[in-house]
Amino acid sequence: MTSALGSVPAGSGTAPRPGGADPQLPVRPHRKRWGRTARWVGWLWVLPALIMYGVFVLRPLVLTVQYSLYRWNGIGTAQWVGFDNYLTVFTDRDLLKIITNAFVLIIFFSFIPVALGLLVASLVRRITTGPGGTLVRTVLFLPQVIPLVAAGIAWSWVLSSNGLVNQLLRTVGLERVTRPWLGEFSTALPSVGVIGTWIMLGLCTILLVTGMSKIDPSLYEAARMDGAGPIREFFAVTLPSLRQEIGVCLTVTVIAALASFDIVYTSTSGGPGIQTTVPGLEIYRLAFSQRQVGLASALGVVLMLLVLVCVLPIQRLTRGEKA
């Protein structure tokens, strides 16, 4: 209970008074009362938030775990099945493919935006502060602001047979490559990934460029003096200095990839087949169309754990000691 500035716990009778008053003066009664009880009364401040969190997050979370141990159609009586639902999640071919899909999306949602963002950041170093810079920032943030659903609809049009992508390909004479990108088995998942890249790229670029502008220029001068080329410079100066920003980008985008729902729902509904189905979509389907609440819940628990397993190491690696 001591603050950074070293004041003695309140109510102990010797608390230094602000304004340099004599610390030996007896403390007024209301201060004494505050010191003893406030730490408990303080819970009243936290309680409303905790209640909402408890009722609408913790309780459902516990229930998800409970449901996952039963076979239940949402209406009739539930039947205890132990870990059968989890067994299904980890052995069913389709479900495994669906989980794999989410990991493939990480490449597009996380790795590509961070790599491209780093490239732009190390070349630009800082976005100009003038109106041009503001414009660039504003535009690059647009995909973050619009509903993901709208991004899904926009891109399903851009990637359709008559869409912009095929139009551009035709203009440069690549007629034979044109196809309904979201409709074909081989291209559907990467195409959904491209939508994710489009959404995340601006955020990552701006985060990284902002981080970049905080790096001390003398570090680069020193590197150049030592005869480092642009590539060595990148690995010796840029990458270590941006560790925290890279960690943030990876955390945000990996969660977005694993828990994706909106984009897939509107652009492909998971098709063709289950080619682009992701865990989030499958949970929705299992729970609300197929009435397999138990299996949906098991998949939900697995999804939650997958997110943690992916995000915690990123946090540990990049937050730890900042270089």
Partner: protein, 275 residues
């Protein structure tokens, strides 16, 4: 040496401009499709010879935009003020008053920070059904407040942890109680943090899709994003109208974004850094 760095800068600029163009193209492509005559099959990006601005009027009526706007605003009005208030209070209690055992409460909240909504949406549905709230806006409002708590409290606590405790000591000597202290001293000081949080929660609520389609069947009682899902289901084959409707549904967020652009970008950057 100067020369290489200059050519690097130029290629950086080119990359940046390319990024801007790629970001804008889907919007332009949608706009060009939305302006084609109804019933035609548009191609990628072609400015129509006779732009049909009337399509937006049709889409406005077809999507029942007036009702949608009202519904989204009601949901935002139900979620954001309460969520911001109770998160600010909790952040104050945990970060400044440092209640006994506060770290336990905080740890519990941290659990929810990376939680995908999909993991709790099923039990939430049955919970809302048992409360008789399905197909009402409450079924979106109440869970959202709860689901925002981990981030919102984390955010406000981070602010209050950095406020010097001497500030409260001084106010206490003046004889104000904790409640007055909170409203007169700490809330005014926390305004930037509160503003950023408000912007983020507004955006997340407005764009919330999953809860909207699970809890509410009637599109006119959903959020904007949820309504767009229904609009797509209904008009998915009429590409011209779908594009016009999507752009209309985008517009309110875009307007708010352009007005509060500076604060928005700051909030989003800080939000992702802290989240």
């Amino acid at each position: 040496m100067n020369l290489t760095s200059r050519s690097e800068r130029v290629s950086g600029r080119i990359f940046l401009i390319a990024l801007v163009v790629v970001t804008l193209l889907p919007f332009l492509s949608m706009l060009s499709a939305a302006l084609q005559p109804r019933g035609t099959v548009p191609t990628g990006l072609a400015w129509p010879s006779d732009p049909q601005w009337g399509n937006f009027v049709d889409a406005f009526t077809a999507a029942n935009m007036g009702a949608l706007l009202k519904s989204s605003m009601l949901i935002v009005a139900g979620v954001v003020p309460i969520a911001v208030l109770i998160a600010t209070m909790a952040g104050f209690g945990l970060g400044h008053l440092r209640v006994a055992g506060g770290h336990l409460a905080f740890g519990l909240l941290l659990l929810g920070l990376t939680l995908p909504f999909e993991a709790v949406v099923t039990p939430l549905y049955y919970q809302m059904r048992d409360l008789g709230l399905l197909n009402t806006r409450w079924a979106i409002i109440l869970p959202l407040i709860g689901l925002y708590m981990p981030f919102a409290v984390f955010w406000m606590r981070a602010h209050f942890t950095n406020v010097p405790r001497e500030l409260s000591e001084a106010a206490r000597v003046d004889g104000s109680n904790t409640w007055q202290l909170f409203w007169r001293v700490h809330v005014p000081l926390a305004r930037p943090a509160i503003a950023s949080l408000t912007i983020l929660l507004f955006l997340w609520t407005w764009n919330q899709f999953l809860l909207a389609i699970v809890m509410v069947d009637d599109a006119t009682k959903r959020t904007m994003a949820g309504a767009l899902g229904a609009f797509q289901g209904q008009w998915g084959t009429d590409l011209v109208l779908l594009c016009a409707g999507s752009l209309l549904i985008l517009t309110p967020t875009l307007i708010v974004f352009v007005i509060f652009q500076r604060q928005f970008i700051k909030a989003l950057l800080q939000g992702s850094v802290k989240g």
